[in-house]
Amino acid sequence: MNGIKRAMAGLLLAGALLLMTGCGGQEIESSLFVVSMAVDPAPEGALRVTVKALSGTQESGAAQPQGSEATAQGGGEAADQSEPGYITLSATAPSCLRALSLLGATTPRTLSLSQLQEIVLSRTLAQTDAALSILREIHALYRANSAAIVVVTPDDAGDFIRRQRALLGTRLSQYLRVLFEHSADMDVIPPNAQLSAVVAAMESGTHDAAAVYAAGSSGADDLLLRDTAELDRLPGHLPRTSPAQNEYLGSAVFSGARMTGTLTGSETALLCLLTGRARTRSTVIGGAQYRVNLPTRVKLGVAPDGALTAHIRMSLTLVAGQGGESAQEIAARIEQDAVSLLRKLQAAGSDAAGYGLLAVRRHMTIGQWESSGWADAYRSAPVRVTAEVKVL
């Protein structure tokens, strides 16, 4: 009996081992690891997809002129290898899916989006319904890294990623990861700009998406806007010069599947504060630097009369400089800024702050919620913000 049991167990183990060999079946060198991807509109309703991928060599190829643009029926591929270790490819097709298939078919590698760090959409495309289907295809069908950051740019998205360089360190993927992490710590980019979060918000009826807004630098370091705070601007118009030609600052806010507005860096920081996702520990107010004592308490609500309410309670500690404003003055300024921000979001029809997540709780079924007309109610709702600031 023991012998039969052992024989059975041995056979079963052997079978299991045989079935487990080569379960992955793919060599690393057989994959084309894409680090950045860009999608632009092309003539006749087509899409041009540009990807920047690891080439696997450290040789710097000469820059080649871009290949011929494909016809609207598909085809064509341009290769540009001007940065050591990376190769840029593009393809044009009627849809993103077909363009990616074309890229996969015409390169001797399997396209892998598992290391994707950013997806750049041109602003023109983001303002159409095509943005959601593009992102959905990338997320669901190509199993892209769902933590990849969605970026919207007013420039040509393909050129945007072509001029992206790993300035610090040698790995573009790590450079981008650290850049987004740093920007998120500064609250100058929206907190939920990952691919999966953006797709979920675009599909959701209870809140809206916010992607990162970025542009190429104009290089005008003598541009001064005296009445505006440095971060209260959109990218591409910052008075700076740097080898990093791309500037990431602010948010592209969506209403459903379409982009409907932009927020500056300062407005994005306030949005992070209102949604309870602020990470920055210091702020400069009236020439003095304050440390923000966490946790800052923010309570959003929808009043019985339909008003959008927000109550902010924060405490600040003076760290440097001379505080010229009193706590009440700081609170009044925060209230004013928050009201302006919420009204701007209302005008854009974008519920990036998530008031819909609170309004949905009043309805018992999905049918009741969807017929409640929340989108119209949100646009016309009054806004009330109160702030309590304590300066220690």
Partner: protein, 353 residues
């Protein structure tokens, strides 16, 4: 051996058996819920599972009351044993189909479906070699680890404000949720494994019905609790667009990419629960088979025959789609009255004597 020690050993054996039933019930409720309740109720799928939880507890309590001689010579009893074997086997097939669907979505996304099926079946067969006692002890050992592990992964991975995903509370409405609840009732079938008379170590004091009902009910409740996760992770809009069973089983798809180790831990804990449940059901099917055909008991022929049937079933479903297993689940409910009612009458006759 002193009678007290016999009773303690019997209690420990029955406790382990109840834990195995609990794990199987929880896994079945989750798998069937992801397949049927989520498309019907969307974010209210967990509500659809609550009647199945109560039924699992009720069946466990009722099954305990049956110390009938399943398969003892008479044709009727052998038929009942065979029906119980069929119910256990089909429940096992359902769990295996769910494992394969989840496997092809996650761990082995590039492998052939039939290879995933064969691999899963092999692992379950290996675990079934020590018979029911072995898998029961394993379930008993993991009875706290599995729910604790799932809870820990859940708390770590859930995004901020995830509670909003539960609203609206009634999901698609009372009608579809009620229909989902009705379709979910067969998920309580694994509790019927407690109908089996048990081994030699189980001879002795038989615990009260509440003993089994509590354990089976808690296991089933864990399975229903897992159905909260699709709503917490995704919200009803994303659930509407998920048409693949394996994608719905894959709880943490949205928001993945961050904390990959925790996502993997959650996935492996899910797999562990599902394969343990399938193994317990296979062992229960083998025991019932042995009661129906005692002559095949000695050389474990029953296990081989049942494994062959499972492989044939998996092969069939790989051709027509694993969702077919899910839609065929209500068939499990058909033999249940035959399994329970005559035993009730026999109990009354024994009590009258």
């Amino acid at each position: 051996m002193p009678r007290n020690m016999n009773n303690q050993r019997a209690l420990a054996a029955w406790r382990a058996r109840a834990c195995a039933a609990a794990v199987a019930c929880g896994a079945q409720i989750f798998c069937l819920g992801a397949g049927i309740a989520v498309p019907l109720g969307l974010n209210a799928a967990w509500l659809c599972a609550l009647p199945a939880v109560m039924l699992a507890a009720l069946l466990a309590a009722r099954a305990r009351g049956v110390r009938a001689s399943l398969g003892a010579g008479r044709n009727m009893e052998r038929l009942r044993a065979l029906l119980l074997c069929a119910v256990m086997l089909f429940s096992c097939l359902l769990l295996l189909a769910a494992c394969v669907s989840l496997c092809t979505q996650t761990l082995l996304s590039h492998a052939r479906v039939i290879h995933c099926a064969a691999l899963t079946l092999l692992f379950i067969l290996l675990a079934a070699i020590p018979r029911m006692e072995g898998v029961c002890r394993l379930c008993f050992a993991l009875r706290l680890f599995l729910p604790a592990g799932l809870l820990l992964c859940m708390l770590t991975l859930l995004p901020r404000g995830a509670v909003s995903g539960l609203f609206p509370l009634l999901g698609t409405g009372a009608g579809p949720v009620s229909l989902g609840a009705l379709c979910m009732l067969p998920a309580a079938a694994p509790a019927l494994m407690l109908l089996l008379p048990g081994g030699e170590k189980d001879a002795g004091m038989l615990p009260r019905p509440g003993f089994f009902a509590l354990r089976a009910g808690l296991g089933a409740l864990c399975g229903a609790g897992l159905l909260l996760l699709p709503a917490l992770f995704s919200g009803y809009e994303a659930l509407r667009t998920q048409s693949v069973w394996g994608a719905r089983l894959r709880l943490s798809a949205v928001g993945g990419g961050q904390k990959p180790l925790w996502h993997m831990a959650l996935l492996l804990t899910q797999f562990a629960a599902m394969t343990l449940g399938a193994c317990a059901l296979l062992c229960a099917a083998e025991e019932a088979f042995s009661l129906a055909f005692p002559r095949l008991q000695r050389r474990r022929s029953g296990l081989l025959i049942l494994a062959a049937l499972l492989m044939a079933g998996l092969r069939l479903f790989s051709g027509i789609g694993y969702e077919a297993a899910m839609y065929a689940a209500p068939l499990i409910a058909l033999p249940v009255p035959l399994l329970l009612l005559p035993a009730g009458k026999r109990k009354r006759k024994a009590a009258d004597r």
